[in-house]
């Protein structure tokens, strides 16, 4: 669909409508469109108004799903720190809890939006934002962590077994982080779609069966 010169990005409008409850999507998105055209475009110009609109979409997401995303981020940070420093038991419970949280975000989306697409959107967006955090975290922490890791027998063993001949520990651990980033993008995309669909179906169906309750 071609974009109108006085309209916000089509994809952002689509995301906004998907995140809003079905019965309020039209009126609330209409209010935002009115503010965009009536106030933001004349005052900020196209780029500034688009940026304002995107912040409003982010606000709508954050207001409803911040808890799930925050829990996933905390879980990831704890898991990454314990992995880098080899502290605590390496439990398999982390991924299970992460999956449960992603499913919960999607269920919440399906319930709140009363549509499968809302659950799907909540699942995909949560996974995408988690991945953005993970990527930023790995790119920020790989070097300080590597200073500790290069003295850890576990990481020294991993370096010896998988590094190319003559490759330094620092070089190896950097590319190990880049590899993890690329793998996690693939895995999180798939998980976001699957949990999003499952949560969307269950959440929206539950809302149809039990129309009253928490938003």
């Amino acid at each position: 669909m071609a974009r109108n010169a006085t309209s916000p990005p089509v994809w952002a409008e689509w995301v906004l409508v998907g995140l809003l409850p079905a019965d309020r999507a039209e009126s609330d998105s209409g209010d935002l469109l009115e503010a965009y055209r009536d106030e933001q475009l004349p005052a900020r110009g196209r780029v500034g108004a688009d940026w304002w609109y995107l912040r409003q979409v982010a606000f709508v997401f954050a207001r409803s799903y911040w808890f799930w995303l925050a829990a996933l981020i905390v879980l990831f940070v704890m898991s990454d720190v314990s992995n880098a420093y080899q502290i605590g038991a390496r439990a398999a419970v982390g991924p299970v809890v992460a999956l449960a949280l992603m499913l919960a975000a999607s269920l919440h989306g399906g319930w709140r939006g009363r549509r499968i697409s809302s659950g799907l959107l909540a699942g995909i967006t949560t996974c995408m934002l988690l991945w953005l955090f993970m990527a930023g975290w790995w790119m920020t922490t790989w070097y300080p962590f590597s200073l500790v890791q290069q003295a850890e027998p576990y990481w020294i063993g991993a370096w010896h077994s998988s590094a190319a001949p003559g490759e330094t520990f620092t070089h190896w651990i950097f590319w190990d982080n880049v590899g993890a980033m690329m793998m996690s993008a693939l895995v999180l995309s798939a998980v976001g779609v699957l949990t999003g669909l499952a949560g969307g179906v269950v959440g929206s169906t539950a809302r149809k069966l039990y129309p009253r309750g928490v938003r």
């Binding site: 009126s27 209010d31 935002l32 009115e34 912040r55 409003q56 606000f59 207001r63």
Partner: protein, 109 residues
Amino acid sequence: MADILGAFEQAVLLAVLRLDEGAYGRAILRDVQTRLERDVAPGAVHATLERLEDKGFVTSRVGSGTAIRDGRARRFYRVEPAGVRALDDARYALDRVWRGVGRLLKARS
């Protein structure tokens, strides 16, 4: 006494009351921004209206759209008696909290 309305909830509810027949999302947003003299996210107003409706303080009906909204419907709000009582309670609570403090403030200024 039920939970006292927060300052932002009061601002939104009073805007609905003030705007009367013209109380829809964007108009409420503008009124709240003007009264509070700060930028307010439309999502914050929508969320508050949703919460106030869940509490039975306001009701809403869907009205017509306009060209600037690409014809998208406007949702008009109305304050219910429970909402008026909640505003009264909030004002009464605030009055009690402030009672006697004006003299002390004057003495210290």
